[in-house]
């Protein structure tokens, strides 16, 4: 019956990919990490999105707090308040984080971050060290907060043909809510052919009172409009090098956009950065280091940008950019060439 297709998976291949960790600790690597180390590693790699205290930045997930809110109107679901298993934290951080540089952390660093996340949720003390040996001793507050899908008993017995009404199902019908009052629907682009009958907002726009969320949706729209790019003096561009740089830029793209229509994300839009005064994007909130350099008239040149991209924190220790830097000079040259080309 077997076709004999494929080949045997080698032990080292399985070891390279088989990283899932079960609630019973199966799959945990040998290692350890302290809250103290975790605080530093978290600050450098995670805080740009999740905040120094795991409290969340903008629309990015809050990882701490929310204790006792699950039955509230807008529960705050964090590792401390919601996650039932610590294994999930380790598994997820190691496989998917940090955003834009996944699967680059050492096992010990992941232990340290996990320890810090426990600390930021007041679940361990500041001298705690997490390891594969004491991992299962940590109690997660909401471990008992889940039930297996009970729709067959609680819903499928009610929502039935027998209970379906066809005539005189209710005496009156009133409109109780209107979507246009909230006015949170995006404007449609490219709708020239259909907007003749565009919906008119009939009532005064109110604050969105109920904004249930998909995942970590914000309460209000948070859109950072793109700053007009400063005029870039015509610079010669090596198209081949720029094309290589576009690939390198993938390492930056989790936080930065460049080119037509670029917007601020976690990091500022990079249009026209070369030749511009540092911190030139007016509506982006830069680090103190950057704003100080801005006031001193620091201008981004190819030379100092090369130095910065090599080791960002060596040049501006307080930079918000949690990026270790590009090791290879060729990569730096290529990405700068790409920034030049994409800005034009």
């Amino acid at each position: 019956e077997k076709l004999g297709l494929g080949r045997a998976a080698l032990p080292e291949e399985i070891a390279a990919w088989n990283h899932d960790i079960s609630p019973n600790g199966e799959g945990l690597p040998v290692g350890s990490g302290s809250v103290e180390d975790g605080e530093m590693i978290f600050s450098e790699n995670c805080a740009v999105c999740h905040g120094e205290f795991a409290e969340g930045v903008d629309n990015w997930p809050k990882l701490a707090g929310g204790d006792g809110t699950l039955a509230d109107k807008d529960p705050l679901k964090t590792i401390g308040s919601y996650w039932p298993y610590l294994s999930t934290v380790y598994d997820y951080v190691r496989r998917s984080m940090p955003f834009g540089a996944a699967q680059t952390m050492s096992d010990d660093d992941v232990y340290a971050i996990t320890a810090y996340l426990l600390y930021s949720n007041y679940l361990v003390d500041d001298d705690f060290v997490l390891s594969n040996e004491n991992f299962l001793e940590v109690e997660m507050p909401n471990a008992g907060g889940f039930i297996v899908d009970d729709r067959p008993e609680t819903e499928y017995t009610i929502f039935t043909e027998e209970n379906a009404c066809y005539e005189n199902c209710k005496d009156t019908v009133e409109i109780t809510r209107r979507a246009t009052v909230l006015d949170v629907t995006p404007e449609e682009e490219g709708t020239e052919t259909v907007t003749e009958a565009a919906v008119v907002v009939e009532e005064a726009v109110e604050e969105p009172v109920d904004t249930p969320a998909v995942e970590e949706a914000a309460q209000e729209p948070v859109e950072a409009p793109a700053e007009e790019a400063p005029v870039v003096a015509a610079m010669s561009v090596d198209p081949e090098l720029a094309a290589q740089g576009e690939k390198v830029f993938k390492k930056c793209a989790a936080c930065h956009q460049v080119g037509e229509g670029a917007k601020n994300r976690t990091g500022p839009v990079l249009n026209g950065v070369i030749g511009a005064t540092i911190a030139h994007v007016g509506d982006f909130k830069y680090s103190k280091d950057f704003t100080a350099a801005h006031d001193e008239g620091f201008i981004w040149t190819i030379e100092n940008l090369t130095e910065y991209l090599h080791k960002p924190k060596a040049m501006f220790p307080k930079t918000k950019m949690s990026f270790a830097g590009l090791k290879k000079d060729e990569e730096i040259a290529a990405v700068i060439e790409y920034l030049k080309s994409a800005s034009q």
């Binding site: 609630p23 919601y82 998917s96 109780t176 246009t180």
Partner: protein
């Protein structure tokens, strides 16, 4: 007067059009430029880990073209060449295996049509009417004909003898992208109808749908349909990954949460008229149309109400309902030009009838986020415009 489009010679009737080589892989004509996926920027922190919506208000039939089928990724859509593709099966199997893309094409193939619905579809509407358009309230769905190999075929190739009793075993699946989006699937479902797909609607999967290979988990929430599938592990337990604990669980009014709520219950929506597809022709003949689906089998009927649920009439199904696939319904009617509170209600082969939002809230409260399959109401006004509203029960 006479119509100049008829009485006068038009330039398209005089001059020639585009040659056969103009668009080697075709695009929609420019006049359909508004039929596109759309994003709701405030929903997520960043478009790399986000979702967009199928323009269901502008489509008809049941098959969703890949080019406008909604996308959801957790670390961006990646470019993975077939030559670089590897699929590993490991865990409780007799022989852990690695397949290339070419290997997969040598297994016996199947063709099956299924809907894929995100568990969060309509999730923004729990606490009240919010987004004004079927695309935004119900557009986290698509329906494609998949070509591929059954998951059972691949698991049997690796051999399940080592797993022993299969009734309490699981299959953990993950992708090759930076999120890897791991999920656990009970063995019973894995062996029943799951597929490893490499074509959709006849063509290769689009990048945003997991090229070159994705998992198909019929009738179950879209997050489980892992894209860029790279590994299948037979396990003795659910892994309880981030996407099956912190996300895709449903919190009830008392603060406890349901987990393993995989199946997508029966649901329907009127796609036209709707806020983005108003009536522009005035009173007289009107086609009311929409989509219905159930993750628990075939749609057996759809009812339509024009008075906010006081009375219901049976719509016509364009074709007999297919299990776990979209069904198109029509109500061919005459509009008297008066306001309507337009609703639809799906029935599936289990005898289940789509509930109202009030009925769901009665059981779950308002904090579930996911799995909102309530009846939708459009307020169609006398001028033909429509608005997303909620009505009294």
């Amino acid at each position: 007067g006479s119509d100049p489009l008829i009485t006068e010679k038009q330039e398209w009737a005089i001059y020639t059009g585009a040659g056969v080589d103009e668009t080697p892989y075709g695009l929609p004509i420019k006049y359909e430029g508004d039929v596109i996926r759309r994003n709701v920027p405030w929903l997520t922190a960043d478009p790399i880990s986000s979702i967009n919506f199928t323009p269901i208000h502008a489509l008809d039939g049941t098959i969703t073209p890949q080019g406008c089928a909604f996308e959801r990724h957790h670390s961006g859509a990646i470019e993975l060449k077939k030559e670089d593709y590897r699929l590993m099966i490991n865990g409780l199997v007799d022989q852990p295996l690695v397949f290339t893309y070419e290997d997969l094409e040598r297994f016996p193939r199947v063709n099956r049509t299924f809907f894929l619905e995100c568990a969060a579809n309509t999730g923004m509407e729990w606490a009240g009417a919010q987004l004004n358009g079927a695309q935004f309230t119900h557009g986290m769905i698509h329906n494609m004909e998949y070509t591929g190999v059954t998951l059972r075929t691949l698991l049997e190739e690796a051999g399940l003898g080592a797993a022993g009793d299969l009734s309490d075993k699981w299959v953990y699946v993950e992708g090759a992208d930076a999120s890897s989006n791991g999920r656990s699937i009970p063995m019973e479902k894995a062996l029943d109808d799951c597929m490893i797909a490499f074509k959709a609607n006849g063509e290769a999967l689009r990048m945003e749908h997991g090229y070159p290979v994705r998992l198909v988990v019929p009738g179950w929430e879209g997050n489980m349909w892992v894209k860029w599938l790279r590994r299948i592990e037979v396990t003795a337990q659910a892994i309880e990954s981030r996407e099956e604990t912190s996300k895709y669980t449903d919190t009830l009014a008392d603060g406890t949460s349901r987990k393993w709520t995989w199946v997508m219950d029966a649901k329907s929506v009127v796609t036209s008229p709707s806020p983005q597809s108003p009536i522009k022709h005035g009173k007289g003949p009107l086609v009311i149309t929409g989509l219905a689906w159930s993750g628990r089998g075939a749609i057996t009927g759809v009812d339509v109400s024009i008075d906010g649920g006081k009375t219901w009439q049976k719509a016509r199904l364009a074709n007999e309902g297919q299990s776990m696939a979209l069904t198109r319904f029509y109500l061919d009617t005459t509009w008297n030009g008066e306001e309507m509170l337009l609703q639809s209600r799906a029935h599936d082969e289990t005898g289940y009838v789509q509930p109202t939002k009030a009925q769901l809230r009665e059981v779950r409260g308002e904090n579930s986020v996911y799995h909102n399959n309530c009846i939708q109401t459009w307020h169609v006004k006398a001028n033909g415009e429509a608005e997303n509203v909620e009505v009294s029960s």
